[in-house]
């Protein structure tokens, strides 16, 4: 059985904000529950009060905004994203990423925003969201603000959220045409794993098949995911070659600060960083060229 706690179901966003602002100690937001209940069972977390946000209508919505951006409400489930985004040229990378998390059962409850907010260094949605320049919409007593996901996460289990604040939505800008995305994770088995290393990439090419923009982001190898900023310059100058990929993967390995833990060693993780960096960029490139029809 779970340890005891109190439970409130917020009917609207104002109510949620009010509760989070006034009930200062030991209160947590409850979305999917697939992380928080496990932490409670393992004795890692003992919230006094859970505020259920699933009944707040706008938080359950998955929609396309006026600029073609994808808006995921805080209560949108991983499975909802996975299935919706599966056939969609612009968003298929998000689908593939979501599908790699947990089990079908966990994806049917767990939320995309929850995966971000838990801020595990190995959170699988985060590298792809960063690669796609996603932003979180934070609401609270102040005016709503948008913040890039990579600035939202500040350390293992730590975000910039202040007391009384919560995430209303994730906003992912519509990728330019001729864009391909890819996500890869490596674990000790092929399903239901915490990533040992993960990587996401986004590449946009022009009509001449030259790289216009690129991002590659690594997960599980530092307190927060690492974006290899130089990738774009290197790829636009040199194209996708064995040498340019080697340069980028060496940079990635130099930036990564993985730990040795019971799952894997630092040494092995650094080797895999290089492998996944190369593979994910190649995959993103391939998908970009397929999209463009060139």
């Amino acid at each position: 059985m779970l340890p005891r706690f109190e439970y409130i179901r917020a009917k609207n966003l104002d109510e949620a904000i009010r509760i989070l602002s006034t009930e200062v100690n030991g209160v947590k937001v409850l979305a999917g529950g697939t992380d928080i209940f496990v932490e409670m069972k393992q004795g890692q977390s003992r919230p006094r009060l859970l505020v259920d946000i699933k009944s707040i209508p706008e938080l359950s919505q998955l929609s396309i905004g006026t600029n073609g951006e994808l808006i995921l409400g805080a209560a949108v489930k991983l499975a909802e994203l996975e299935y919706w985004a599966a056939g969609q040229k612009d968003w298929s990378g998000l689908s593939i990423t979501a599908r790699n998390i947990g089990s079908e059962q966990v994806r049917n409850r767990g939320t995309v925003v929850g995966n971000v907010c838990r801020a595990s260094p190995a959170a699988d949605m985060v590298p792809m969201l960063i690669a796609m320049d996603a932003q979180v919409e934070i609401v609270g007593s102040e005016e709503p603000k948008l913040l890039p996901v990579e600035d939202f996460l500040v350390g293992p289990g730590q975000t910039v959220l202040k007391t009384g604040e919560l995430i209303k939505s994730l906003k992912i800008p519509k990728p330019p045409s001729n864009t391909g995305t890819a996500f890869l994770k490596l674990g000790k088995r092929r399903a239901m794993n915490v990533s040992i290393v993960s990587a996401a990439a986004k590449i946009t090419i022009n009509n001449a098949n030259r790289v216009k923009s690129a991002s590659v982001v690594l997960g599980a190898v530092a307190p927060t995911p690492i974006r290899i900023l130089e990738a774009e310059t290197i790829l636009s100058n040199e194209g996708l070659t064995k040498q340019s990929l080697e340069k980028i993967s060496n940079l990635a390995s130099a930036r990564a600060r993985p730990l040795t833990d019971f799952r894997s060693t630092q040494d092995y993780r650094l080797k895999i960083v290089k492998i996944l960096t190369r593979r994910v960029l190649k995959q993103a490139w391939k998908r970009a060229t397929q999209t463009s029809g060139i």
Binding site: K188, R189, M192, N193, F262, R263, Y268, K271, I275
Partner: protein, 766 residues
């Protein structure tokens, strides 16, 4: 070729419908009025002397009905072996691993029980710790048990044949060491026990046990209660794989709490507790020194094992001994030397796990066979065929091979796997093989004898009840026994009901272990069923007015063989009254039968030399694994396993395939991903997602080849398959990896990082 009516048919489990509808009751599903919940206070340090235990605050927690410490429990031990097992159910002097049992509480709710446990104050004086068996052997190492100097739980030293001569006559000597680590059973149902006491002081224990009658003996001895006052029962059990073939402190703890509180007391381990306190496969470091002739003949083998026993001793010596005993009767070996030390360390103690030491030693033997093959320039298949045992062999240690499908399994397994075509490709794919021998019908001589017994009654409608002590913990023994009864008596298997594992009504069986249920239990059923058949046919003979010899029985009918249209139903024969006139409800003379089958083949091994034949049959087999290695990441994909197994007779081919497929999945985990990881005595991965047992995405295609060698003593020739499928898998995979990418990993699990390191070293050495 014999024609059977029930045997050999692909038969769904007779209890499948209740399982698939959720109606099958497991221990946690049973409701007992007035039940109390138990919780155990466990040590948080790996080694410490108990100075004081203060339960006063715990006693005041609302809902608490009984608290016990070692003052309330007998000092006798829990486990499988008398006098050897030194784990007390609640420790009296020292705690010796993180999780060791200190006190227990029974309360009205789980919550109260746990709260009370947290309120018990324990003063522990921390003691120095040791976690590695080699460290534990060194002078000055912390001593876990005062009566075990150097932390040695036990030693084995045996020699058969002229070993010195064997080495002298060898052209080449190979000496290599291999290592396996602890793996957890991960039964889907965690371990549990429920104890209740009736008005006469008689104890009933419901347990997730594999050994109801043996558990009853243990309880009787430890509690000093006559056996007749103890009843062990089981519901459906969610897996065992050897974890439940030994008693556990929770069995005794619940019993004592029930006796003290006078209410039913139940304890079910949660998943973390299961990982941290249940016993896993014994880690072993095995050195094999093997002498070979250049023509490929094995001259001698010296096996030396260091077993990490963990904090207490129970089956470590037995399992290590079993591993050693295997070395001389898969291959023909003129002489063998066996040495071992079983050593204490401050971790959870080990236990039996499918294969009983054989998975460990077979990984070593089969890896070395391939290393030898390469060095001698002989194909690994050829090397094995040259040395394979045959029917009629008597091994130098005394094992007598009365039926043997090893060579056939090698040839057929290799052929189906495409051995010739698929070896030595350089595309990062490889195939490798391993074979094995495992005992069937074994595991009993420790109890002083090998037997199984059963009661049968035939109902008036022609259906049959089997009342057996043989427990089904998921492996399908009920269906196997039902098939044998159905075949012999001549009824559809759907008309057989099996009542299993209740010591209150069933005669003694030694439990689900040692791959013995089909052989021993099956032979007992066969004997009793033949008696029932004789009774029925004798009545039918008089009803049909023909001699008994002219009758056959099948599908519910007893018919005249030469005129099959002339028959009586089994129901009619069973319902035959003494007098044809009955004015009230006619009640036929009951058909009842019983049998105790005692194994005429095996014998107790000589207590001094160890020479002997302790098992009535031996199962052999070969597995060929095909793998693909990602040389960038070191990850291994097992593409296919061809499993050619000598089963004697396939009583239920579908069930046997299921056992093989399930074992191979465990074998893949053992080979590649599974390990209980300790750091300073703490289990770092006590979660199913951190432990990494195979999911649907991690298993390979399995092609099963069932070889029938018709064992002379097995029921209808059957041997036993419960453990065999797991034994060669890791060796086959290790050898396949070598074929694929040329690296030899001698430690399990063969994780991706080990492969990458080995590939790097190989490149560096070029």
């Amino acid at each position: 070729m014999m024609e059977f009516s029930a045997i050999g048919k692909r038969t769904p489990r007779i209890d499948a419908v209740e399982q698939v509808t959720g109606r099958a009751q497991f221990l946690p599903d049973l409701k007992f009025p007035n039940m109390l919940y138990a919780a155990i206070l466990r040590s948080t340090i790996a080694h410490g002397r108990i100075l004081n235990i203060d339960t006063r605050e715990a006693e005041r927690v609302p809902g608490v009905k009984a608290i016990i410490t070692s003052l309330d429990t007998p000092t006798a031990c829990v486990g499988f072996y008398m006098g050897v097992a030194n784990k007390e159910c609640l420790v009296s002097d020292k705690v010796r691993f993180i999780g060791d049992d200190i006190a227990a509480v029974a309360a009205e709710s789980q919550e109260s029980a746990q709260e009370a446990c947290s309120s018990i104050k324990v003063d522990l004086e921390p003691l120095p710790v040791v976690f590695d068996p080699e460290e534990a052997l060194k002078p000055g190492a912390p001593l876990l048990h005062d009566d075990s100097p150097k932390n040695i739980a036990g030693e084995i030293h045996k020699e058969f044949g002229d070993v010195a001569e064997g080495f002298a006559a060898s052209d080449k000597i190979f000496e290599t060491s291999y290592r396996t680590n602890a793996v957890a059973h991960c039964c889907l149902e965690t371990r549990g026990a429920l104890a209740e006491v009736d008005a006469y002081g008689r104890l009933t224990i419901w347990s997730t046990t594999q050994i109801p009658h043996v558990l009853r003996e243990m309880l009787s001895m430890v509690l000093d209660l006559p056996v007749g006052k103890i009843r062990v029962r089981k519901a459906h059990v969610g897996g065992g794989f050897g974890s439940r073939q030994s008693s556990d402190p929770i069995d005794l703890i619940c019993a004592i709490l029930a006796l003290k509180s006078k209410r039913p007391v139940r304890l079910i381990k949660d998943r973390i507790e299961e990982f941290t306190t249940d016993r896993s496969r014994y880690p072993m470091t095995m050195t094999l020194k093997t002498g070979m002739k250049s023509n490929g003949r094995i001259m001698v083998c010296h096996a030396d094992i260091l077993t990490d026993a963990g904090a207490y001793h129970d089956q470590g010596l037995s399992i290590t001994g079993y591993a050693l005993n295997r070395i001389d009767h898969c291959y023909r070996i003129p002489c063998a030397k066996m040495d071992a030390k079983v050593v204490f360390t401050n971790k959870v103690y080990g236990g039996a796990f499918r294969g009983y030491g054989n998975p460990q030693i077979t990984f070593a033997i089969e890896s070395q066979m391939d290393e030898i093959a390469e060095e001698l320039g002989i194909d690994p298949l050829e090397l094995r065929i040259i040395n394979a045992c045959h029917e009629g062999d008597v091994a130098v240690g005394g094992a007598r091979i009365t039926s043997c499908g090893l060579t056939e399994s090698l040839k057929r397994g290799a052929s189906v796997a495409g051995w010739e075509d698929n070896r030595g490709r350089s595309n990062k794919r490889g195939i490798g093989m391993a074979c094995f021998v495992h005992s069937g019908g074994g595991g009993a001589w420790a109890h002083g004898g090998n037997f199984s017994s059963i009661f049968i009654k035939v109902e008036y409608d022609g259906s049959v009840d089997l009342i057996t002590g043989v427990p089904d913990v998921g492996q399908g023994s009920k269906t196997t026994l039902a098939l044998i009864a159905a075949e012999v008596i001549g009824i559809p298997v759907a008309d057989v009901r099996v009542h299993s594992g209740d010591t209150g009504i069933a005669p003694v069986s030694l439990g689900a272990r040692g791959s013995r249920e089909t052989f021993l239990g099956g032979n007992a059923v066969k004997l009793a069923a033949e008696d029932a058949k004789r009774q029925l046919q004798s009545r039918a003979a008089s009803m049909l007015r023909v001699p008994v010899e002219e009758l056959g029985s099948v599908q519910g009918k007893i018919f005249i063989k030469s005129q099959p249209a002339e028959f009586v139903t089994i129901a009619q024969a069973a319902s035959k009254t003494m007098h044809e006139h009955a004015s009230a409800f006619p009640m036929g003379v009951p058909v009842v039968a019983s049998a105790c089958y005692t194994d005429p083949v095996s014998e107790m091994a000589d207590l001094t030399t160890g020479y002997g034949n302790p098992c009535p049959t031996y199962a052999f087999g070969t597995q060929v694994a095909e793998v693909e290695v990602d040389t960038d990441t070191g990850q291994v994909t097992v593409l296919r396993v061809v499993a050619a197994h000598d089963v004697g007779r396939a009583i239920n081919p579908m069930a046997i395939e299921g056992q093989l497929e399930g074992s191979i999945s465990q074998g893949i985990g053992f080979a590649l991903t599974e390990q209980v990881i300790w750091e300073k005595g703490v289990v770092k991965n006590p979660k199913l997602t951190a432990y990494n047992l195979p999911t649907t995405m991690d298993v390979s295609k399995v092609t099963s080849i069932l070889i029938e060698t018709d064992d002379p003593e097995g029921p209808f020739g059957a041997k036993g398959i419960g453990e065999a499928g797991l034994i060669p898998t890791a060796g086959a995979i290790a050898n396949a990896i070598y074929d694929a990418v040329g690296v030899r990993i001698r430690e399990l699990p063969i994780t991706a990082d080990k492969i990458l390191d080995a590939l790097e070293e190989k490149t560096d050495n070029k």
